[in-house]
Subunit: 184 residues, 2 copies
DNA sequence: AGAAGGACCAGTGGTCCGTA
DNA sequence: AGAAGGACCAGTGGTCCGTA
């Protein structure tokens, strides 16, 4: 009974689009990706309101409970692995929309795929952290939209590694200086 | 090989003591109980410092990880079920030490056991919550010592139930007024 | 090959109940 | 009977890898 072909089996894959650009064909653009993060936040707010109403524990982040609620509410296109995968990209969008838009344009011009764009999003976020004492948790917490997302493990590790590199290159006697550049 | 009898098999049970009073015999007093909460906070601080050093996720509360760390550090007398059992008692001690001390004195005079004292600690904490908009989570969060402990389920439920009773008795036409008193 | 997401896993919050 | 705490359980954060 797969001949029907009516139900979309999976979400269309993302492609790199500029801000405001609509994806053509069986693709989804990055504005849509970022919109999903806002939707999750909305679902979190609903879960919080219900919890407060009932006097139950109130989640502060987008938890499994929130993903379950979203699914139950019909948002089948939202799932945890996808949302977690792109959190640092959304972080760049939140923290420096200009830089995020510029990177999108650049990656699109180079014809890079979504994976390459995703990788490229790490560096600017780490540089923002460098300018704020390397405290990526504080940066997430201070931003209303971002604060509901867990800091991705890899982003945290990159910040930690870079902080140590920066310390070495600025404090070691005759430091080579090569550690000033991110090694990724 | 149980003839040795050297190792203390379990902690001595708690008895109701007044503030500053040392428990006699094979018993522990309430100052000691509250001291355990401070020790757990210290262990949490150590776990946090290690996590920050390593650039890992940093717990904000006394978690399983902290209990494991405490045990590894030789504090075998600290365990999760015990600490969780008396959190609301410690909350009263933190939020209104005068009232806590008065209750200890009163329970001791009546010759009540530790379980009865523990039960009696709920009511004054719920009344503190009543005076602060019933938001027990906010009360815990606002207090430096208390903020590292999860709000106990039963305390949250009592606050919720009482809030609803208070609303009914103040808004229902011809409210009976009997709901002004806690039913426990 | 590149990407979406079902499903698994180690370790969590919570507390019961066999123990002393 | 009253109390301390080992040990279990349902549901979590995290992400791999079989799938399309």
């Amino acid at each position: 009974m797969r001949g029907g072909g009516r139900e979309r089996q999976r979400e269309h894959p993302f492609i790199v689009t500029e801000a405001g650009e609509v994806a053509r064909g069986k693709k989804n653009g990055l504005d849509y990706l970022f919109h999903l993060y806002e939707q999750c936040h909305d679902f979190l707010t609903q879960v919080q309101n219900i919890a407060k109403e009932r006097g139950e524990k109130c989640p502060t982040k987008v938890t499994n409970q929130v993903f379950r609620f979203a699914k139950k509410a019909g948002a089948n296109y939202i799932n945890k692995p996808k949302m977690r995968h792109y959190v640092h990209c959304y972080a760049l969008h939140c923290l420096d929309e200009e830089a995020s838009n510029a990177l999108r344009r650049e990656c699109k011009l180079r014809g890079e795929n979504i994976g390459a764009w995703r990788q490229a999003c790490y560096r600017p976020v780490v540089e923002i952290a460098a300018g704020q004492g390397w405290d990526i948790d504080a940066i997430f917490s201070a931003h209303a939209q971002l604060s509901v997302w867990y800091v991705p493990t890899k982003l945290r590790q990159l910040c930690h590694t870079e902080r140590n590199n920066a310390t070495v290159s600025s404090s070691a006697s005759g430091g080579s200086g090569t550690a000033d550049h991110l090694p990724y």
